[in-house]
Symmetry: C2
Subunit: 228 residues, 2 copies
Amino acid sequence: MDEISSLQRRPDGTTGPIRRTALHDTLVNHLRDMIIEGDLEPGTRLHEGQLGEQLGVSRTPLREAIKYLASEGLVELVPSRGGVVKRFSPKDVHDMLTVLRTLEELAGRLACEAATDAQIAHVRTLHDEMIDRYKAADRLQYYKLNQDIHTAIVRLAQNSSLIDIHAMLQTRLKRIRFIGHEGPEKWAAAVAEHEEMISALEARDKTRLSEVLGRHLFNAWDRVRDSL
Amino acid sequence: MDEISSLQRRPDGTTGPIRRTALHDTLVNHLRDMIIEGDLEPGTRLHEGQLGEQLGVSRTPLREAIKYLASEGLVELVPSRGGVVKRFSPKDVHDMLTVLRTLEELAGRLACEAATDAQIAHVRTLHDEMIDRYKAADRLQYYKLNQDIHTAIVRLAQNSSLIDIHAMLQTRLKRIRFIGHEGPEKWAAAVAEHEEMISALEARDKTRLSEVLGRHLFNAWDRVRDSL
DNA sequence: ACAAAAAATGCTGCATACAGAATACAAAAG
DNA sequence: CTTTTGTATTCTGTATGCAGCATTTTTTGT
């Protein structure tokens, strides 16, 4: 029972509340979540018939969603065999982190120049909230806020292309990080790095912010390598 | 007369040589080329019926191709209105070049470490050929080889994610560069920078290569800004 | 003649139908 | 018992049909 219940069902003629989002778009998000959360493990074939029936949609919008995710890099398109959930090798993950690091270093530099005080204050809010979740050992919310902070800093850079690509890489890596459960010491170290980040951002010290972000993502490899 | 003639046509029952590529995949490449080369200008709506008839395919694979290109960033998906060729503002282009610059700087550093002598020699070959095309004032081939060189250097970095994302940005920018026709002085300057790049690569001087690549792409903005 | 409403047209979004390829399975031959 | 070949089933790839939304044109009222 996994229907996309919220929208779309209208077998009778009832003109229910208007649906503005297209089904293929809904499916993209739904499938993406399923992949990230591990419901669809790497190597899994995306059976159009079965999956479509399970979700209560026809094959057409499902296929469109799969094509979209393929271009996004989460799904691989094998000729005459359809979509397969892409499997990332440890090297792939390392490669992605390397690129992510470079991009966030750039974002840090740009953010110090472009951000308004209010925007920085907002990041501080997210940070404080994350610290709360850390102290409460609430890993799930911690991870979520962690990612939000990185995304927020990237947004401060005001570079649309950077925002796009960063989001894409975050998505691809989310699956890994979602799983990765580092030990308390490493976790503490990561939090300490975040503290540094925020203070550097508030000081608008772009060299330092860039450096910390780089170090943070360099260390990120250590934190996830075990779970691979 | 714009049929996708090469493959797929078989109105009679003749079992011609096997076709391994899927139609939607062929369409992705075809449409991408049409967009890059300006056959489909920014803002153009991608009429499924009309366009499909023009290319001799049905709407289904065409729709799938459009979704793919949307995820790639060349097409925008407007609800209830289908695909529209994305229009890039000058700032968008500037943003993309900024990211591209950062990525190629990274690629330069990694390439100096990872590349084999043979690979470097191959880039030199491409470079020499490009110089020939420059001297012959053959802009089209010059551009093509230019891009090939950048792509080749990125490949030397041996980072799959970097290769992916770089290719994506190149594609998005290709449309702009394809149009951009800078004057002889700027062109000469670009060629000079390429000379520097190759020599830095051959010396495996990563600091210098990274610096030149950065400067090259920084200047790239000057070279295209007029044509926007 | 102009504005507003209503009808008509065209296009997208989704579902279904059909054809061809791949795979799994079974039977036959070595 | 293993291997190979033929067959059946399943799934992808593509085409087509239908319903709803958007936009444009026509019509009607002032």
